[in-house]
């Protein structure tokens, strides 16, 4: 295991440090709360000559992602960060980056979408991009935000993948919370001691070998191009596992794409993403002390969706609650819809309930998670889930 140093830092700082460690060639970013600290820190690193990087101070997020597309086409390593309305504004270009197979890495500091305008956390911003073709990870704490940023470049730039990667961390809850973060101090800074070699692109704009990027595809070709893109996304799962394994072997921290927490004998389980996981784990610890057979599944990798891993993780529980910090109006929460669909291919399976919780930064506490487990036990007693969607923690007058 290689040497590390532990520092107290906010999530945004941790992400900026990680991005710096990866030596991006080009950063194009536009500030937005609560991502701002990341782009400020990176511009300081550039101003102090700590990284050799072209920093494009674009006039919008749309141009940020557009410049990332252009920069990545030259073979450069490209990084950006955004949140909320920024994701919404760049949404069009997210699809183009993925389709061109450019391994741009982007931090999304999760923040609710307007309106009403809110600067606080939920996952609807990242969910806007769930069908854009980006790999998407949701992290539990600042350490994972740091580590995932480094892993993201290695996964995205792997020629078997060649896809953009979005690392999502919860706005304020992580971005502005100080936590201990183990910092990697490599001897060979250029490649992080061989973990992250220079990008070797599938193709690049080269004046000696001209190609056209971003052409028009008629019906004879479009669908096949999309199929190939989907194959790359599906293949990325094994690469993610490899990279996470190698990272863990070097630095001692492992991040399975689906993490089972006290699931071996669990009767009821919750599924969480992002920082809710930490609170839910504490809840499980407390309830286990009281003798309750509760468990937790942390869904780290939302794209590609780990269908097999989720099925295995949840196959033995009797009731499962999926907590979504996002909403799809008139339907289930996004992670509920996908989790339950992986289980219902056979007739056997747990009872399923969807908790919509923590939108726009509303706090979700240990007491709240206990209540959710109790609701699941009630379902179990009844043997049926009558109203599968629960908006948890709504004001009484609503």
């Amino acid at each position: 295991m290689q040497m590390t140093k532990v520092l107290g830092m906010m999530g945004d700082f941790a992400v900026a440090e990680a991005a710096k460690l990866c030596n991006p060639d080009v950063v194009a970013a536009f500030p937005i709360t609560p991502q701002t600290i990341i782009v400020e820190r990176l511009s300081e690193f550039v101003a102090d000559g700590e990284i050799d990087c072209e920093y494009i101070t674009v006039e919008s997020e749309h141009s940020a992602m557009s410049a990332c597309y252009g920069a990545s086409s030259t073979g450069a390593r490209v990084y950006t960060a955004t949140a909320s309305q920024g994701v919404a504004l760049m949404c069009e270009i997210l699809y183009l980056v993925a389709s061109a197979r450019f391994p741009v890495v982007m931090t999304v500091v999760n923040r609710a979408l307007s309106g009403p305008i809110s600067i606080w956390c939920d996952h609807n911003d990242a969910m806007l991009a769930r069908d854009s073709g980006w790999i998407q990870w949701f992290v539990e704490d600042c350490q994972e935000a740091y580590d995932s940023t480094i892993q993201a470049f290695k996964v995205g730039e792997d020629r078997r993948v060649s896809l953009p990667v979005m690392v999502c961390l919860d706005g304020f809850i992580l971005s502005h919370s100080i936590e201990p973060v183990a910092i990697i101090e490599p001897t060979d800074k250029k490649t992080i001691d061989g973990f992250l070699p220079r990008r070797d692109p599938l193709y690049r704009l080269d004046v000696d070998a001209p190609i056209a990027v971003g052409t028009c595809a008629f019906p004879e070709y479009y669908m096949d191009i999309k199929k190939a893109q989907n194959e790359a996304m599906r293949n990325s799962k094994e690469v993610i596992k490899e990279v996470v394994e190698e990272f863990g072997d070097r630095w001692g921290r492992y991040y399975p794409i689906v993490e089972s927490y006290h699931m071996d004998d669990a009767e009821v389980a919750l599924v969480t993403m992002g920082s809710l996981t930490g609170t839910a784990k504490t809840t499980v610890d407390e309830m286990r002390e009281e003798g309750e057979r509760v468990g937790l599944v942390k869904l780290r990798c939302f794209r590609p969706f780990p269908i097999e891993e989720m099925r295995i993780a949840l196959r033995d529980v009797q009731a499962c609650g999926v907590v979504d910090r996002a909403v799809s109006f008139g339907s289930f929460g996004p992670s509920y819809a996908e989790t339950s669909s992986t289980m219902n291919t056979g007739r056997e399976g747990p009872l399923f309930r969807n908790f919509i919780a923590g939108l726009g930064g509303r706090d979700v506490t240990v007491a709240d998670f206990k209540k959710m487990y109790e609701i699941l036990y009630d379902d179990l007693k009844k043997g049926v889930v009558e109203q599968p969607i629960t908006w948890y923690g709504i004001r009484k007058e609503v």
Binding site: I56, S63, C68, G70, E92, V207, C216, F218
Partner: protein, 318 residues
Amino acid sequence: MPSDYPTKLSELPKEERFNSGHRLCTGCGAGTIARLMTKAVDKPLIVVNATGCLEVSGTIFPHNAWSVPWIHNAFENAAATASGVRAGLDVLMRKGEIPKRDIEVVTIGGDGGTYDIGLQSISGAIDRGEDFAYICYDNEAYMNTGIQRSGATMHAAWTTTSPVGKVQQGKKRSKKPLIRIIAAHGLEYAATASVAYPLDFVRKVKRAVDIKGPAFVHCIQPCTRGWRFDTSMSIQVARLAVESRFFPLYEIEWGHKFTINHPDKKASKIPIEEYLKYQGRLRHLFKPEKNEVIINVIQEYVDKEWNRLLELCKHSEM
């Protein structure tokens, strides 16, 4: 005129870098502009193309009319995309990852991608001082989607979204003064051009790419389908746009130094009617009866703009 600018078309490079086989319409000047641009640059070149006629006609997968590296992203973001390409090239050359070369990044977009949906990204790129040349081929409407009005559409022109009806006669307002908006950024070089004056266009593109920093060339390109004239008349109409002073040829240095450069300066001014009468999109100004009122309004607009230009030139000499 400095000696390194060609004085005859035969002096242009023979090598073709925008090739036949593209799907642009018969008589379309956009192809001429693209082809002349590559000859004017005459150096390693990367083309960034906004969505539009030229983009979609040149590169329908798996075909490609360009023999230079070419990249298209979306409609409104060619200038931001070019910023990324430029940054990527610069940093990779600096780090020794790719050979050090003098590579020009030329961005090309229609009036839709330039006047309207792409204006913010162009303004941002010019403001940042990006080293790239932007060429706008202005055919005065969204031609790729089938002739809808744009900020570039001239007053009174019929388009499918500024129709000629019982209470409205084509577009209500004049062209947006794009070149002055661009020049107001204070960039080193901005110029207007016409596809009818290829040597003037080539000289301006050469000048634009030689500048370290942003430069802009705005080229009028009559559209046979959208303006409704015979496919043999594209160049003639583009020449009349200049001769009638509807689209004068001039340069603006550093946002304030104006120079008119009509190749045929001595030619007497042609009345606007001579320009308008060939265009089916303006047929309602002549049939069933001549609409003197609107023709006069357009003539007054042309005269006012020309006089303003003369004033600006005079100021430049002071």
